[in-house]
């Protein structure tokens, strides 16, 4: 017990020490120190960021850029503290892997709409000269870490391309398929490749599996594989005919609460079947593995394929790597085609690791200028070449492997994914019972029954209620700011119109939540009255 206390105490001390060190002001009379926190773990990316900082200082000799690397394991706690601190870094790189983070960015960061609509001055003399910064991005800054549609506001400039791809061992592909660059064209060919790999392993008595994955990997791969099968369901439940699932987790949850789809919808059951199909080709016991086990197995040549969000571990492999997009289902698929629209657009999930400016920082002008420098074509080119990362800016040359990760912008909307329901509690329920899905012949039925018995509707409603409170907090703060804005202007101006419009769009989501929760209550009470 004492050991546990000691470990906790040490961890708290470590976090505090890190925060104190990260806040140290190093300004001197003539120098300006711009503090930038980032999340890059890879040495090459880290070194590339340092080089960018030095280059900026050469252009602006008064400014020194100090980078602070924030370990992902403490990011959430660190981020919370920075947002209430008097002296947060001038620029913070964030990733919205936790829903609270989205709310925290919306409340604690400076909207940068003006910045993204202006041409980037550092693009003078390039093919992007005179083009608004937003349009210089490969994805047009549509990603959910950059643009918050519910507020009509941009908060961050992403710096890492992050499309999911199957990464494979080219040597093994050559042995199995006779061509190191062969890639499957559709879902059926992908499954056939997995079968061929199993057969190859048996024939050659090898410890070789088609896919190396951990628990997170099954979600990524299962989602990618099954995302098409519920596209028509997503469109059918799109009551406002806007053809999107904006706020990708919230809208499916609200439709679920209103009873417009359930775990027994044929499209959802088909998606769960696809999860099972993929899992058959992963190494046994994958639910117990973590990412380091998976990387080890893949890098040791025990798996033909794994799934990755970027080419970051390419320098660790002693064989050459290939990559391809997980081939989605198509409308001509004999089994699932009726539910499918076609390959989905990666436009809203193509970038991550966004750099934003905390509202309380004092050096906003220099921070804005540095962001423009960072996201210029030339700087992103240098970063991409030195780090091997996927470019985020248009007309930047990617490395051969990184080019496989460039997003496919054409395509259809996402389907509805059951794992996207609710928030933390719902996902925990899903994760805790996931093993049932892969057991026996009737895994889908067992999994769905268990989630129904655990009242997934109620758990989802609880998660969404918590979310509603976050919306309320945000609304009351914007109310006060809006009032202050009106107080300082004689008549409503365009600026106020923009403010009220973004609040309305945001509040509409809150009102939809309120309505959907009420519908869920009514649905539940009508079910409980049914004999």
């Amino acid at each position: 017990m004492k050991w546990i206390q000691l470990i906790i105490l040490t961890a708290i001390f470590g976090l505090c020490a890190f925060i104190v060190i990260s806040r140290q002001s190093e300004t001197s009379d003539s120098k300006i120190v711009l503090r930038v926190s980032h999340l890059f773990r890879e040495p090459a990316a880290e070194a590339a960021m340092e080089a960018i900082g030095k280059e900026y200082s050469q252009l602006h000799p008064r400014v020194t850029v100090k980078f602070l690397k924030v370990p992902p394991s403490i990011f959430l706690q660190w981020f919370r503290i920075q947002l209430v601190s008097d002296a947060p870094p001038d620029i913070v790189q964030y990733q919205l892997w936790h829903r609270d983070l989205r709310q925290m960015v919306a409340q604690g960061f400076e909207p940068i709409n003006e910045l993204v609509e202006q041409p980037n001055p550092y693009n003078r003399g390039t093919s992007l000269e005179g083009i608004p910064l937003r349009e210089t991005y490969i994805d047009g800054l549509q990603g959910e870490e950059a643009f918050f549609p519910e507020m009509g506001a941009y908060f961050g400039l992403p710096y890492r391309g992050v499309t999911l791809r199957v990464v494979y061992n080219r040597d093994l592909m050559a042995k199995i398929r006779g061509d190191p660059d062969w890639t499957p064209e559709n879902w059926r060919e992908f499954i056939a490749l997995c079968e061929q790999t199993v057969a190859y392993a048996q024939e050659n008595n090898l410890k070789l599996f088609p896919i190396a994955a951990d628990k997170f990997g099954i979600y990524l791969m299962g989602n990618e594989a099954s995302i098409g099968v519920s596209q028509k369901l997503a469109l059918r439940t799109n009551y406002d005919y806007d053809f999107t699932l904006r706020t990708a987790n919230l809208y499916p949850s609200l439709r679920f609460l209103r009873g417009e789809w359930s775990l027994r919808s044929p499209e959802v059951l088909a998606g769960l079947d696809i999860y099972r199909e993929v899992a058959r080709y992963m190494q046994p016991g994958f639910l117990q593995f973590d990412v380091s086990d998976v990387n080890f197995q893949f890098l040791q040549g025990h798996a033909l394929m794994t799934i990755a969000g970027g080419p970051s571990f390419s320098d660790q492999a002693n064989f050459s790597l290939g990559a391809f997009r997980i081939p989605g289902l198509k409308p001509d698929d004999q089994e699932y085609g009726d539910y499918v629209l076609g390959p989905y657009s990666e436009a809203t999930h193509a970038t991550t690791y966004a750099f934003g400016i905390p509202r309380d920082t004092e050096q906003k002008e220099i921070a804005r200028d540095f962001l423009q420098f960072l996201t210029s074509q030339q700087t992103n080119q240098k970063f991409t070449q030195s780090s091997g990362e996927v470019p985020v800016i248009r007309d930047v040359q990617a490395t051969p492997l990184a080019s496989k990760f460039l997003p496919h912008l054409d395509g259809y909307i996402y389907g509805i994914l059951p794992r996207g329901l609710g928030n933390t509690s719902t996902r925990q329920l899903f994760s805790e019972n996931l093993y049932r899905l892969f057991q026996g012949e009737d895994g889908v039925e067992k999994f769905v029954t268990e989630l129904e018995e655990k009242n997934i509707m109620k758990v989802t409603a609880r998660d969404i209620r918590t979310l509603a409170q976050n919306y309320q907090r945000n609304l009351r703060e914007t109310d006060a700011a809006f009032m202050a804005k009106i107080y300082q202007s004689e008549h409503p101006t365009e600026l106020l119109d923009a403010h009220i419009l973004s609040q309305t769009v945001f509040e509409l989501d809150f009102l939809r939540i309120v309505y959907s929760l009420d519908q869920a209550d009514k649905l539940e009470s009508s079910l409980s009255r049914t004999p």
């Binding site: 209430v84 409340q107 047009g140 549509q142 643009f147 549609p149 009509g152 469109l235 009551y239 406002d240 005919y241 806007d242 053809f243 999107t244 904006r246 629209l341 076609g342 657009s345 436009a347 809203t348 509202r359 309380d360 912008l409 054409d410 395509g411 259809y412 909307i413 409170q469 309320q472 907090r473 609304l475 009351r476 703060e477 109310d479 006060a480 700011a481 009032m483 202050a484 804005k485 009106i486 107080y487 300082q488 409503p492 365009e494 106020l496 119109d497 923009a498 009220i500 419009l501 973004s502 609040q503 309305t504 769009v505 509040e507 509409l508 009102l511 939809r512 309120v514 309505y515 009420d518």
Partner: protein, 271 residues
């Protein structure tokens, strides 16, 4: 205090300056600092500090990150007093006080009291027909009528008709765009007649919506609803406009498909 003794004019100016500073801080979401500025002003110049400062202090306090229940109650009492003393033709403070009490019931209380909130919106709205804040209150009331679980348990038709009852009373352009956004969404949710929805969509389109995502959504809705009520050529025109304005949007592929379908079933020319 010293300033007051030296020069009353200077004191008034100083008071106005610190009040402005308080509002600036509020606008920047620095509620604790704003509250301090307003509170200092109320202590330093109690005879000069006006209703604006009292309103500012109450609003900043209600958003204070370390709000205590006694301060919350005192701030709500202050809003109530500012509302009660609004006079026959309410001043701006009076309107804001009533509106803010409505917002409190909707966004501060957990669980929210939507009926009380709506009552405050209606009171504020009826205090001045054309006033901007009266129209703003009406807009918020529309939202509750369309979506909130009110005690009267309105059916879908009632929800929409209550929202439509505000139609002629929200005239400010910015607020009208917001009103139409809520109304169109509510009408679609409650399955109103598509022709009626299309009329509203055309109205909002004529107002030249500024935000690009809302604009993309509206164009998409205009095309789809036009096709649904049988105006094929009109639908084609809206979809084409969408493809011109949003060539790389998440909706683009679907719009392209729908356009191709419409063109193939009409004499509309090339997609």
């Amino acid at each position: 205090m010293l300033t007051t003794l030296v020069s009353p004019v200077a004191a008034v100016e100083a008071s106005a300056k610190s009040s402005t500073q308080g509002w600036t801080l509020t606008q920047q979401y620095q509620f604790a600092q704003a509250q301090q500025v307003f509170a200092d002003e109320l202590i330093t110049n109690p005879s000069i500090a006006n209703r604006n400062t009292r309103l500012g202090a109450a609003m900043a306090m209600l958003n204070h990150p370390a709000l205590k229940s006694k301060d919350r109650e005192a701030s709500l009492d202050e809003l109530q007093q500012l509302w009660d003393s609004r006079g026959k033709t309410p001043d701006r403070v009076g309107f804001w006080a009533g509106y803010s009490l409505g917002r409190w019931s909707q966004n501060y209380d957990s669980p929210p009291d939507f009926d009380l909130s709506n009552t405050w919106y209606e009171r504020t709205a009826s205090a001045g027909d054309d006033h901007y804040i009266a129209q703003l209150a009406r807009l918020k009331s529309v939202g509750l009528w369309l979506y909130a679980p009110l005690k009267s348990n309105p059916n879908p038709a009632t929800r929409v008709s209550e929202a439509l009852a505000m139609d002629s009373k929200i005239t400010d352009r910015g607020l009208r765009i917001s009103y139409l956004i809520l109304l169109i969404d509510g009408m679609l949710l409650h399955q109103s007649d598509h022709q009626d929805v299309l009329t509203r969509l055309q109205e909002i389109w004529a107002l030249n919506i500024p935000a690009s995502d809302t604009r993309a959504k509206t164009l998409c809705q205009l095309g789809t609803l036009s096709a649904m009520v049988g105006y094929q050529e009109q639908a084609i025109a809206y979809y084409r406009q969408f493809l011109v304005e949003f060539p790389a949007d998440i909706r683009t592929q679907l719009v392209r498909d729908r356009l191709a379908e419409l063109v193939s079933t009409s004499k509309g020319g090339q997609p």
